[in-house]
Point group: C2
Chain length 300, copies 2
């Protein structure tokens, strides 16, 4: 079933049954609030890893009864990451969630060879955004992980995202390679990348997505804007996935949903054997809950 | 008088009296419609340069009476650009507007040494955006001209924008250097640039703006988001100008105003002796009219 609205993520997750979420360095109020919400919505069973004294005191403060919840005491953030990665390695959890620790520390543990958690070629950030101005959900990548991906890395980022979308019920998502202009310009590297990526997809006869680019943001989102520029493309004005040219652009694209367009987002890191939920402290409660629900829905 | 809303640009422009706008390659329906609107709003006196037969026939079609308007016939886009640049060189017009020709052709004529039209160190794109979600107008640079500016070029882009904002009535605009994260990260070049730019501004004791960065888009636009990240900055949550790290990011930032946030924009190219209006065919009529009004207001 294709997810049409972020609210449906939650509904879908409920239908799928509770998934096990291991939370690394769970001693973080905003993360525990989100976990509490997800438990109340009956979509997850958490395993809390971290400073147990702090976790207990935060849970008391936010009225979260964790008597029946597994709690593993660790003394450093490195230990929390290691223990969490071990749990995933032993297939005792379905989802990883970041708590009170730097993303880099957690990712380092995930990428350690012996844990064998990297399923695809790389990890990438995948977001679903709901904006009042667009007719459907729009996926965005990569807003948080890959800084300046080359063409080969962009292909892997697209692969990660399309794989995620197929799990969410999309059949042939329309992928727009976003650039500042809609024509190849030898001075603008992102347009050269877009041309190379499109060519690769056409040549490889991959049939599970429709890819086009370079497209500027207006052409990707508005049929009218695309028509004004005489762009004839199945993707133009109807994109399902926006692929940003680099992190500078992807982060702005993702954050503009919330801070300029008054929209909502859900996001996970994909490419590992399990989805990784990396919410930011400034994310809304709904964003955090939707992100956990998105991770649950990707377990299908 | 500080411009608080884009509508006020038009009102302000009316109070300033008509400015002369030379239109290079004016044989373009969407440009002539915008010129017609601006004439009806009594903010400009146009000089139309281009294929006079085409111009006449378009004007007839859109009911634009140009009997009392200067019309200079040219046969190529290069000639249109040259003639327009000459008119500006001879100080016979206050504003340049792009018609039916590539931006590069027009810019080439503007930058020709003998026309002596470049006032500052470089040309840059300057936009004013109005979005429902933000408490005031927000300026954005650079969405269209400089592809991958280095630190020295970014300083010039900021100089161009701040100078423009002072003309618009700002006294000490708050400038946010947008990056994907709010801390220096040696792997993310935009954060290194932001640190260098901020240091330069502090050391040069420039008092006509308040600059801060690296700031992520959420921190720049939302006090709440900044507080969550413990960011203590006069600019955070109250930015007047967003400086994008590069064209890939700037173009997305600018276009997200219209195509994601349901907002309106006005934009001009600054740094030359006169503002240059470069609207795109897909821009709304209001955007084009506001852009002409913005150029008029910058003539103060």
């Amino acid at each position: 079933m294709l997810i049409q609205k972020l609210e449906n993520l939650l509904l879908n997750a409920t239908l799928l049954g509770r998934k096990k979420v291991v939370v690394a360095a769970a001693n973080d109020e905003s993360v525990l609030k989100a976990i509490k919400l997800a438990v109340e919505n009956e979509i997850i069973i958490p395993i809390l890893v971290g400073n147990s004294q702090e976790i207990n005191s935060i849970c008391q403060k936010i009225n979260f009864n964790i008597q029946n919840i597994e709690l593993i005491n660790t003394s450093t953030i490195e230990e929390s990451s290691e223990v969490s990665a071990n749990i995933l390695q032993n297939r005792q959890a379905d989802i990883l969630m970041k708590g009170q620790l730097p993303t880099a520390t957690l990712i380092k543990a995930v990428l350690k060879k012996e844990h064998d958690l990297l399923k695809n070629k790389l990890l990438s950030h995948f977001a679903l955004a709901q904006i009042p101005a667009y007719q459907k959900l729009i996926a965005i990548t990569d807003a948080a992980i890959n800084i300046k991906p080359d063409v080969a890395e962009k292909l892997e980022i697209i692969y990660n995202s399309v794989e995620s979308m197929l799990k969410l019920g999309y059949t042939r998502p329309k992928v727009a390679l976003i650039c500042p202009v809609e024509k190849e310009n030898l001075k603008i590297e992102s347009t050269i990348h877009a041309v190379a990526i499109k060519k690769h997809f056409i040549n490889s006869f991959i049939q599970n997505c429709i890819i086009d680019g370079p497209l500027a943001l207006d052409n990707a989102l508005s049929k009218k804007a695309a028509k004004h520029k005489n762009i004839d493309s199945e993707v133009a004005g109807d994109a399902d996935l926006l692929v940003a040219p680099n992190l500078d652009a992807g982060n702005i694209l993702y954050k503009s949903v919330t801070y300029m367009a008054g929209g909502e987002t859900a996001a996970v890191v994909v490419g590992a054997r399990v989805p990784i939920v990396l919410t930011s402290r400034s994310d809304s409660e709904m964003c955090k809950l939707y992100s956990i629900a998105l991770a649950v829905c990707m377990q299908v």
